[in-house]
């Protein structure tokens, strides 16, 4: 059997030739993992397993709203273990990338996608539906808000779902996708809506279901929640004093960027009341921070695509970008699009979002 090769990461290349063997070994050792949690993610059952309860807890924090009682034939099993387990296979991980961006590489004809960031190596075996996360000293702080973003993008792609750079809030079953570049007001809008009683499904990364071909082609778009965290500039934190206690630096090198956990401190019943796993997409809103009164202004589909797609293109990778662009183009033709002018009055912002969703149901 030809061993998988690890392309594009020279200092890790030789050791990771045994990636498949490392997966098998890790899963064999984990058969009796003491700690297990189950998620319902994008309509699929996902199992988390680890022998380290603390590690599992820090990883699962961003998925708290998706926790399920038990897994039924999990579509994905994620094993969290120590990098020390890889000693025999990967003697040296190589230097931590200077960039905050992860290094993502493909091996064995694309079957394995591996991810290297700040001392953590993680891999997805697409054929087997398995992820292994070999952690250094705990789960990297920069990854806690949106764990394994790139690997989930790959896994979702195989389910014909697309990770998009957008937030999502809902009123009843009707969801408003919040798109646009960083700093446009997605997080502020999403958190303002949550405070006002709308359902919160995320502020930055959503799995979009909009099949372009096959049996599902023509179905209406849906959005699936992934992470119940939120990202916010430190300067905006004072607008959400109720969340100050949940804030952590996203990256020690960038103290101005915070990750928040809006579900911290809520009991399970409360969590079920403020979040959901999915929502039918009834509108696309492109926030824009202004000083005036909040209002949603209808936007031509092409203009909406111009605001939504560019920042999502990078988020799509390693998903194929041309396919992703095609899907976003279909989205803007499928739902009404609005420019959302976000003013200072956050309650009024939420009211305007709810107004759009309510009128869309009529």
């Amino acid at each position: 059997m030809p061993l998988p090769r690890f392309e594009g990461l020279p200092r890790v290349a030789q050791p990771v030739e045994g990636l498949r063997a490392a997966f098998d070994e890790a899963f064999a050792e984990s058969a009796g993992a003491s700690f297990r949690r189950h998620l319902s993610l994008a309509g699929r059952s996902v199992t988390l397993a680890s022998e380290d309860g603390g590690l599992l807890g820090s990883f699962a924090r961003a998925f708290r709203h998706l926790l399920a009682d038990e897994a039924v034939e999990p579509a994905l099993t994620i094993l969290l273990t120590s990098i020390a387990r890889l000693t025999g296979v990967v003697p040296e991980l190589g230097p931590t990338p200077a960039s905050a961006q992860p290094q993502v590489v493909h091996a064995d004809g694309g079957r394995f996608v591996a991810y290297h960031r700040q001392g953590t190596l993680a891999g997805l075996d697409r054929a087997a539906g398995r992820m292994v996360v070999w952690c250094g000293e705990g789960f990297p702080a920069s990854d806690r808000g949106q764990p394994l973003f790139a690997l989930f993008a790959a896994w979702l792609h195989d389910l014909d779902l697309q990770l998009v750079h957008a937030g999502l809030v809902a009123s009843g079953e009707s969801g408003a996708l919040l798109g646009g570049a960083g700093g446009s007001g997605k997080s502020t809008t999403a958190l303002a809506c949550m405070r006002a009683g709308l359902t919160y499904l995320g502020d930055d990364s959503i799995a979009l279901s909009l099949p372009l071909a096959g049996e599902g082609a023509g179905e209406e778009p849906w959005g699936f929640s992934l992470y119940a965290s939120a990202r916010l500039e430190a300067a905006n934190l004072e607008r959400f004093p109720e969340l100050i206690g949940t804030a952590e630096p996203m990256d020690p090198r960038e103290p101005d960027k915070l990750v928040l956990y809006p579900l911290d401190g809520l009991d399970d019943r409360q969590v079920r009341g403020v979040t959901a796993g999915s929502a039918r997409l009834a509108a696309l809103l492109l926030p824009h921070v202004t000083g005036g009164a909040p209002r949603a202004v209808p936007l031509a589909p092409a203009k909406a695509l111009l605001l939504l797609a560019p920042s999502s293109i990078r988020a799509m990778a390693p998903q194929p970008m041309v396919l992703g662009f095609e899907r976003l183009a279909r989205l803007v033709e499928s739902v009404p699009c609005y420019r959302l002018e976000v003013g200072e009055d956050l309650a009024a912002v939420a009211n305007e979002v709810e107004r759009v969703l309510t009128e869309g149901r009529r």
Partner: protein, 147 residues
């Protein structure tokens, strides 16, 4: 402009015409573009494989403009698209059937020279942190009994 000149969207370009407006993204650089009105229609025709003569005939016919003016404006637009590496010239013959326009019926048909709108705000980000390498699917096609 000869009858046989044709162009195709460059390999690194994703493009879509929505309600008559073309939105283009250069996937390598992160720059993105729009072409409204006449420009969006020209992109539709380029994407369909039309020759320069066909494009001039269609635009002049649909917008009631003089062919000489359309031809001159097309030359300028093609030069811009080439400089931005959005199209590459290719050979080939005129296509038999051209697509109907997707512009909304509410849009006026007054001729305005095509204008390429350029947005480079994402380009710096792409230069600092290029997109991650895309998924490969070769493993799906191989005979697993061989592995």
């Amino acid at each position: 402009m000869g009858e046989g000149r044709r162009w195709i969207p460059a390999a690194d370009v994703a493009a879509k015409v929505v309600d008559g407006e073309a939105v283009l993204i250069h996937l390598a650089s992160g720059a993105y573009y729009s072409l409204e009105g006449v420009g969006g229609r020209i992109w539709e025709l380029i994407d369909a494989g039309a020759t320069s003569r066909q494009i001039v005939e269609v635009i002049a016919g649909e917008y009631g403009a003089a062919a000489e003016r359309v031809e001159a404006d097309l030359d300028v637009l093609i030069q811009q698209l080439g400089e931005e590496q959005l199209v590459t010239e290719t050979s080939g013959h005129a296509v038999a059937e051209l697509p109907e326009s997707t512009r909304p019926s509410s849009e006026g048909l007054g001729y305005q020279p095509p204008q390429l709108n350029v947005f480079r705000d994402m380009a710096d980000l792409f230069a600092l942190d290029p997109p991650l390498p895309e998924l490969k699917d070769e493993w799906r096609n191989r005979d697993e009994t061989q592995s």
